[in-house]
């Protein structure tokens, strides 16, 4: 018989009426908590197998619910749950390189093939090149349209993964784990405005979300703001301009610093008036994401309507 509760595949005893948090603590598992009434979200965990009771997902975003996140402090399971920490990427799977192409001077498009890797466009995965060399990358492909996983990799001078990516070619073997992240098209009203704002390779998840939104029949206006240091860093520009011409409800707004463009200023100026009605996806460096999140929230956007991924540079 399947035990009612397992943690990282280890069976954990849980008494009738006991919460998952109480059971984890009794088993000596490190499980942080604070309010213990389902409000503060300090204890957030993810069910990697099984469905948590609906009341244990109260207050979470639709994307978090779809990923199995729940609050152990108010979770009394009635069917088996296998629980993991919120950022656990799970088992690694073998993958094969399909192609490596330049998208811009310092951005490459890596496409890899792997078996059975369900994901939502905009999530990220862990790319494992070798022991000790692994990085998180957002997924720009679409599971129903592309027979591969696509990542946009920014090349950092002296970066170990950057060097590695430049040396590999079709047929090279590596591993992936995941997916992770809740920056995907879920809980968005098809008629509400959608704004995607990203800098550099922050375009990758937004490109995935954009295609997913169009595929799912999003009817409200969609605006994609992409920023780069230099004009030639605005990769996929021609493709996005063509898409904007072909679609009535899609606009593309590029901004590059070398031609006087300021992504945050451009996006905020246009968005402030409609912030309270719009669904946001923000992807880029920490300063940019924090500034946009705060300013959009102060302009009336609900925190639940702002999804974001911060891209932090890996240590070399």
């Amino acid at each position: 018989m399947t035990p009612l509760l397992t943690y990282m595949d280890r069976p954990v005893e849980i008494a009738p009426g006991e919460t998952v948090l109480e059971a984890l603590l009794r088993a000596g598992i490190d499980a942080p908590s604070s309010c213990r009434t389902g409000n503060c979200q300090t204890c957030l965990r993810r069910a990697v197998q099984g469905t948590p009771p609906a009341e244990s997902q109260n207050g979470l975003t639709e994307a978090q619910k779809a990923m199995g996140y729940f609050l152990p402090c108010i979770c009394r399971p009635s069917s088996p749950l296998n629980v993991a920490p919120p950022d656990d990427a799970g088992a690694r799977l073998p993958a094969t390189v399909r192609s490596v192409e330049a998208l811009a001077q310092d951005v490459v498009r890596l496409r890899i093939e792997t078996e059975a890797f369900p994901y939502r466009p905009g999530q990220f995965l862990k790319l494992i090149a070798s022991d000790g060399l692994e990085r998180h990358y957002s997924i720009a492909s679409h599971p129903e349209e592309d027979p591969f996983l696509e990542m946009h990799i920014r090349l950092h001078p002296g970066g170990r993964m950057s060097r590695h990516v430049m040396e590999i070619a079709k047929g090279h073997r590596l591993h992936v784990a995941g997916p992770l992240g809740t920056c995907f098209y879920e809980g968005v009203d098809k008629d509400q405005p959608l704004a995607l704002i990203g800098a550099g390779t922050g375009l990758a998840p937004l490109y995935g979300v954009l295609r997913d939104a169009l595929r799912q029949g999003h009817r409200g206006p969609i605006r994609l703001y992409h920023g780069a240091r230099e004009r030639k860093g605005l990769y996929l520009r021609e493709e996005l301009e063509a898409l904007a011409r072909a679609r009535d409800n899609f606009d593309y707004a590029p901004a590059s610093l070398d031609t006087g463009g300021d992504l945050a200023a451009l996006a905020l100026e246009a968005e402030t008036q409609r912030a309270s009605r719009t669904a946001y996806f923000l992807c880029g460096g920490e300063n940019l994401v924090k500034r946009l999140k705060r300013d959009l929230f102060m302009s009336g956007a609900s925190m639940k309507a702002i999804r974001s991924d911060v891209f932090s540079p890996a240590s070399l």
């Binding site: 604070s34 309010c35 009434t37 409000n39 503060c40 207050g59 924090k290 705060r294 929230f297």
Partner: protein, 121 residues
Amino acid sequence: MSSLYERLGGENAVNAAVELFYRKVLADGRIARFFDGVDMDDQIAKQKSFLTMAFGGPNRYTGLDMRNAHKKLVAKGLNDSHVDAVIENLNSTLRTLGVPEKEVKEVAALADSVRADVLGR
């Protein structure tokens, strides 16, 4: 007689108040600096937890959590005037939502009851 939490409208009332309250706090020059650099998603969940307690809702409030959470802020100069500012913002949030004065006072009293823990006294 129904509880304060029920009279206010329970969890729906907390949800209606939390973003309004957080916006007022962030816009208040007296206290905004204490929120510099915090993760806003984490913070909104913590604000919800605080409002649930102040609304008389279900909580397992322990002074220790409150003390630990504010320790660093006390070191940065958090004092009575800042607690007063937070309670002022809470009052004005409730008034914006049309909550009667009697309940506004009850909420303020509950919020004030954690002052010593927040300030580490």
